[in-house]
Amino acid sequence: MVDKITRRGFVKAGISASAGLIGTSAVAQGDPKITKVQKWAQELGEGLDTRPYGLPSPHETGVQRRRVPWLTADAYSSINFTPIHDLEGIITPNGVCFERHHAGVPDFDPADHRLMINGLVDQPLVLTMADILRFPRENRVHFLECAANSGMEWRGPQMDGAQFTHGMIHNVMYTGVPLRLILQEAGIKTAGKWVLAEGADASGLSRSIPMEKALDDCLVAFKMNGEALRPENGYPLRLVVPGWEGITWIKWLRRLEIGDQPWHQREETSKYTDLLADGSARRFSWVMDAKSVITSPSPQMPITHGAGQTVISGLAWSGHGTIPRVDVSLDGGVNWYPARMSGPSLNKSLHRFYFDFVWDGKPLLLQSRAHDSTGYVQPTKDVLRQHRGESSTYHNNGIQTWAINEQGEAQNVEVS
């Protein structure tokens, strides 16, 4: 069992399994890690300033974004996945926030960056980064989920790992200027009903955002988790569109145009529209509905300690508000138990839930079901398919099932 996991690359799981054994079963001889003086208790460790910008322990190198090469033609218009199975709490560390680019990651000096506001405004403006930093700013934590997260699962279970089924998501604290203040600085004409947000990269990615949302809770952000945006997440400036599909959060934001109609850009027509069973398609399906997933145990995070006290850990979120409640099922949805919510419950942010139980070592069918603050209950995948068919690619927020076998290994399955 431990061998098999190690072969699959989960060295860490193997280590914690043996540590667990020493910790829980009676031992004849004292643990040498305790009875012998260890090197680290004797010698000086590394001096400070060895790493002016710190990195995780070398024992954590397995915690990485991963890509699925066969999903896209190349690595420049492509996507990778946040290792959500390895993470805890609600904040995603900047270095493992998933990336989705349409023309690679542009590299530019913030001194060269400009933000233009044009169209139906009283005074078209150009702002530099120095100007942006003089606007009143706000701090807010929001999840960003790609509309295609879980998109490979529409026709049945496919990707064997929470990272790959649900990892097109991250949750960070943004520091930014309310979009409202920037638009108001140019003066919105009364005919202005839509905002086109456009990126500075070679894809010139652009989306139409209705004025109501633009004036409500959008931010033009320059920091994530306290430090500058990472290049792959839009450095030096990105749009934050809380609760809405990630494609609207334009990175490397260079222009905001005000208009009286939407533009119907490629990423809101050819892509990011939801094809239904009858051949018609939904457009402007912006909001990410309530969703949850058990991050551990999951295929990349098997139970390695055998029967006994066990932690189920998971994430839940909703683009409509907060998550007051998550239910967990151990039997594929026959019976449900309320999970324990832990950590801050913030609007349009990831929420962490736990379910602590004593595992009897028998197979489990683990599911989680999010309830959001509007009373929306996360549907099953079958119910979603009844509404939409199997071709809509985007917005799959159906309930995920992990089958756990007697060895504690988990597999992505669907149940009746």
Binding site: R8, D122, P124, M159, D289
Partner: protein, 207 residues
């Protein structure tokens, strides 16, 4: 006291919705700066520059600058996107979504090609070249004859077949009433069977 007054004034100004320039930040954008960046095109033709392009000229540009990835006839090479075909497949089990079968507006083709194609050499096409390849893509999709010339003037008369195929997000009407119901907690179904298993292993997916 003065400071307090100032912040009061600032608060009042912030609360005034449509007044321009309340913070005095930034500088006016110049007309040639706006012209350089304001390249978006809308379905009603707003934003289209003067220009024209024939199917015939488009064939040359497409063969030279697009076909390596999209194929001579827009059929797509390898994993690169296809640009033609798929008519009447949208309700099929495996629909093919292309400009001809799925896209609602021709303006999106013009806008997208001008801003980002050819892939890896964005903004290298002239305005007329974009009219030309757009005309050629229409031709490849059997939507115009080979003697067609696309111009700013006739642009909006070229209607794509699936224009009426889109509707505004109707989840609030069709789904939310169903999903905002109390959830079952016990004995919710008589039995449970595994109906499918995911097989794409993390280890096979690479980095």
């Amino acid at each position: 006291m003065l400071k307090f007054l100032n912040s009061l004034i600032a608060a009042v100004l912030l609360a005034t919705p449509l007044a321009a320039g309340t913070l005095g930040l930034g500088r006016p954008a110049l007309p040639d700066e706006i012209a350089a960046w304001n390249i978006d095109v809308r379905p009603d033709g707003a934003g289209l520059p003067e220009g024209a392009g024939s199917v015939l000229a488009g064939e040359g540009v497409f063969t030279e600058k697009c076909a390596a990835c999209h194929g001579d006839f827009g059929e797509g090479v390898g994993r690169w996107p296809i640009l033609v075909g798929g008519e009447d497949t949208l309700a099929d089990e495996r629909p093919t979504k292309t400009i001809g079968s799925y896209w609602p507006y021709l303006s999106t083709v013009w806008d997208y090609v001008y801003r980002t194609m050819p892939y890896g050499d964005a903004r290298s096409l002239t305005v007329d070249e974009v009219y030309q390849v757009t005309a050629y893509i229409l031709y490849l999709n059997d939507l115009v004859e080979d003697d067609f010339t696309l111009t700013k003037a006739n642009f909006t008369s070229a209607v794509l077949p699936n224009q009426a195929g889109f509707k505004r997000d109707d989840r609030p009407q069709t789904e939310y009433p169903d999903f905002r119901k109390p959830a079952c907690m016990a004995n919710c179904k008589p039995n449970v069977e595994i109906t499918g298993r995911g097989t794409a292993k993390g280890a096979e997916m690479g980095q």
